[in-house]
């Protein structure tokens, strides 16, 4: 397969980037998208050029490291997958593919297609945890009865891998889906109730501080999320937030 790649190149966080065009030949349909970029980089290195920097780690759809806006959609045109799970058979010979970093003020570009998503980490640090006594008398989580529906909903929320596709897809660059998943996974469980009030208040405050946009319920985040995180989580976070605000 012969393709034309239009890729965002940016030297560092302080430089101004631009789209650069790279022709690539010999792309196999069974290659993953990241493997195709590996091939491109091999060629660039052999020519003495700077390889294209992009995030990747597990390459099996569970770490959330790979990102990329591919032809105007985070993680490419397919649903419920990450970029590493996208295969080149999804494209046709002669196609032009536009590849950009996830764009948000809160996700500054480090280099080329790699962005700094530590704003998500700071939101997690603000309350995305539970405090458990680990001094020897820890209660086995399996010994705590939890309704099946709540356990399932919590597990589904916990499936969020924090890749940032929700922010990338949102026209407002809002992080509500990510934050709400992290709030929901604990809000639904007895272990999370203890710190529920301060958790939601602190996490939303941190989310706002990071400079993400406001949610306008377009639903793009839910559609583009590789893990199918539902908008129900945002509604739940809104309820949790209002209830926590009234409690003070």
């Amino acid at each position: 397969m012969k393709l034309t790649l239009k890729i965002w190149r940016q030297k560092d966080a302080n430089s101004k980037g631009s789209m650069q065009t790279y022709p690539i030949d010999g792309v196999d349909g069974d290659m993953s998208f990241l493997e195709m970029l590996d091939v491109l980089n091999d060629g660039l290195i052999n020519q003495g050029e700077d390889p294209v920097v992009f995030d990747h780690d597990c390459r099996e759809g569970i770490c959330g490291a790979c990102s990329l806006m591919i032809n105007g959609e985070p993680h490419g045109p397919d649903r419920l997958i990450t970029t590493c799970q996208l295969h080149m058979r999804r494209f046709n010979d002669g196609d032009t593919i536009v590849i950009e970093p996830f764009r948000a003020k809160a996700f500054p570009v480090i280099k080329d297609l790699m962005v700094d998503r530590s704003s998500f980490e700071r939101i997690q640090h603000a309350g995305g945890y539970i405090s458990v006594n680990t001094s020897g008398n820890t209660i086995d989580a399996n010994a705590i009865p939890i309704e099946k529906e709540d356990a399932d909903a919590s597990f589904n929320a916990a499936a969020c891998i924090g890749c940032g596709a929700c922010v990338a897809a949102c026209k407002n660059a809002s992080a509500m889906l990510f934050t709400s998943a992290k709030v929901s996974q604990f809000a639904l469980l007895p272990q999370g109730k203890v710190e529920a009030t301060r958790r939601v208040l602190n996490m939303v405050e941190q989310m706002d501080k990071e400079g993400f946009g406001n949610c306008t319920n377009t639903g793009a985040c839910e559609v583009e999320c590789p893990k199918g995180i539902s908008l129900e989580n945002i509604a739940r976070m809104n309820r949790e937030y209002l209830s926590a605000s009234l409690k003070g």
């Binding site: 948000a104 003020k105 706002d208 946009g213 306008t216 377009t218 639903g219 129900e232 509604a235 209002l242």
Partner: protein, 219 residues
């Protein structure tokens, strides 16, 4: 709390729901101008002279409209600042509706329409009652309303504005429930209701405007 993104979102939702309720009430009165002019005159007279409506509900309505628009602009500016470098390619149409992505555009058209609507009805009413201080005539409303729809240009503007209102309500009405945290097994049915409302009420207003345009009465 009040400055947080969720608080602003809830405030937008509540002011929007209030305006939707007002729209339904406004339509209920207006449709009587087509089916029963006497009832239209009597309800209009009540709305124009009742102390509670004029002194309390009308100021609340004006505040609600201004708040909804001002907050809408503030949120739009903040949202634009949240992505300083735009995408070279962004396929919003693959994952969200046009109406949901362009609330600011439909909102601006509705705002411009409201300016015309105030110029057409509200300002003449203030002049009539408080500046020229005419004696109150409970039968004047029907003829005045019908004559406003004489101009084809004005009727066209009304029709276009109400089409944009359909798009604004199509997303905004159901979205308001999500914003206040209502998302459960009833949400699908509720969304259907909000979308029927989003089409039916503006189409009803369009019908009223066209009906009066084609059924003019002598001045």
């Amino acid at each position: 709390m009040i400055s947080s993104s969720i608080a602003r979102k809830v405030a937008m939702a509540l002011s929007g729901l209030f305006l939707v309720f007002f729209l339904a009430q406004h339509f209920t009165i207006n449709i009587t101008s087509v089916i029963a002019p006497d009832i239209f005159n009597s309800w209009s007279h009540f709305m124009g002279t009742n102390g509670l409506v004029q002194g309390i509900l009308q100021p609340i309505l004006i505040f609600g409209v201004i708040y909804h628009f001002v907050m809408g602009f503030i949120l739009e500016i903040q949202n634009r600042k949240a992505r300083t470098v735009r995408y070279a390619q962004f396929k919003g149409g693959t994952n969200s509706s046009w109406a949901s992505r362009n609330m600011i555009i439909t909102g601006l058209v509705i705002l411009a329409f409201l300016g015309l609507h105030f110029y057409d009805f509200w300002i003449p009413e203030i002049v009539h009652k408080y500046i020229e201080t005419h004696p109150e005539d409970p039968t004047r409303y029907y003829a005045e309303t019908v004559h406003k729809f004489e101009s084809p240009v004005r009727v066209t503007i009304y029709v276009v504005s109400f089409i944009l209102l359909i798009l604004h309500l199509w997303h905004g009405f159901s979205s308001a429930f999500q914003s206040v945290g209502f998302n459960n097994k009833y949400s699908k049915g509720l969304k259907l209701f909000t979308q029927i409302f989003a089409v039916a009420i503006p189409v009803g207003f369009i019908f009223i405007a066209l009906y009066h345009h084609f059924n003019q009465i002598p001045h």
